[in-house]
Symmetry: C2
Subunit: 198 residues, 2 copies
Amino acid sequence: MRTAVLTFDGFNELDSFIASALLNRVNRPGWKAEITSPTPVVTSMNGVRVERQQPLSFAREADIVLVGSGVRTRDIARDEKILQELALDPSRQLIGAQCSGALLLSALGLLENVPACTDTVTKPWAVEAGITVLEQPFHAVGNIATAGGCLGSHYLAGWVIARGAGREEAEAILHYVAPVGQKDEYLARAMAVIGPYL
Amino acid sequence: MRTAVLTFDGFNELDSFIASALLNRVNRPGWKAEITSPTPVVTSMNGVRVERQQPLSFAREADIVLVGSGVRTRDIARDEKILQELALDPSRQLIGAQCSGALLLSALGLLENVPACTDTVTKPWAVEAGITVLEQPFHAVGNIATAGGCLGSHYLAGWVIARGAGREEAEAILHYVAPVGQKDEYLARAMAVIGPYL
């Protein structure tokens, strides 16, 4: 299970790195999540420069594609070159979006009749793009999932791990990364959020 | 308030980036959190290569120093050259450590008579280093704070923001980054955790 974490200039570090760090805790042969970008170096919304691990074309080969969020997602969702390169296939791939990443899924035609979660800043743009926005942290239909609110990214990661490596693996990883002294509470809440979609 | 987020080879993306992303949401003149490393490029525990924003010497000038975690912290805490360069001053600086970052604070002599939080993997090494380890997500004494469990990093960031920019600013940022539909619950839990140390 190889994962492309789509990361563009202006990206939000929380969204790309919470997802990739959690997925890379799956200790199974072939499991690997990689920062996937159109340019060799991408710069975050806070000026952090990160070298990509895979080019954008990797998104078509990956088993899992997660779309991070950022301050430029609206422009990226209008970039025909990027949209063409991202010929995603929800019949074969698990596809998830964090916060403004939903705009990109919508531009790819993946949110037709699929309601979505997003963050409070993106919400008006998502509504304008025709997305039915849900007031909840996580939602999935079939192979397509969305999460809203930066720290909700551990729900998206948990769902992907549960779908790809099993519920027990997701529970073990969510338990490990949870704050000390609150692990059972965190895990219970996470599983209550993603459980209905497993 | 300038912040050095100490980030070394083998770093855990969650610990460096949750802290820096939250601190960079403080929208006040001079507030800036930067990835601070001994080398121009640092490589994470998952192979992500990140360009530093500041050299290690910046840690002495910064108002806030946060020590990230990683798979090489035990070695770094024995590196005399790094320890000498990190002449931190808890009378002037807010100093925080995430997970294994506590080992570095201990090596710098900053945890004498100060109990600390750390993660479950680091705990035996922390005990061996003479640290009194607490079974809770966050703890602070004066200007020195520690957090345990990767996702506990938003507590550390919240405390730093509250100390440096005020409680209202911390509450606004924690509310914004929380998952949609769970924002009040997340904020209440975070403030219950850090409130006693403000």
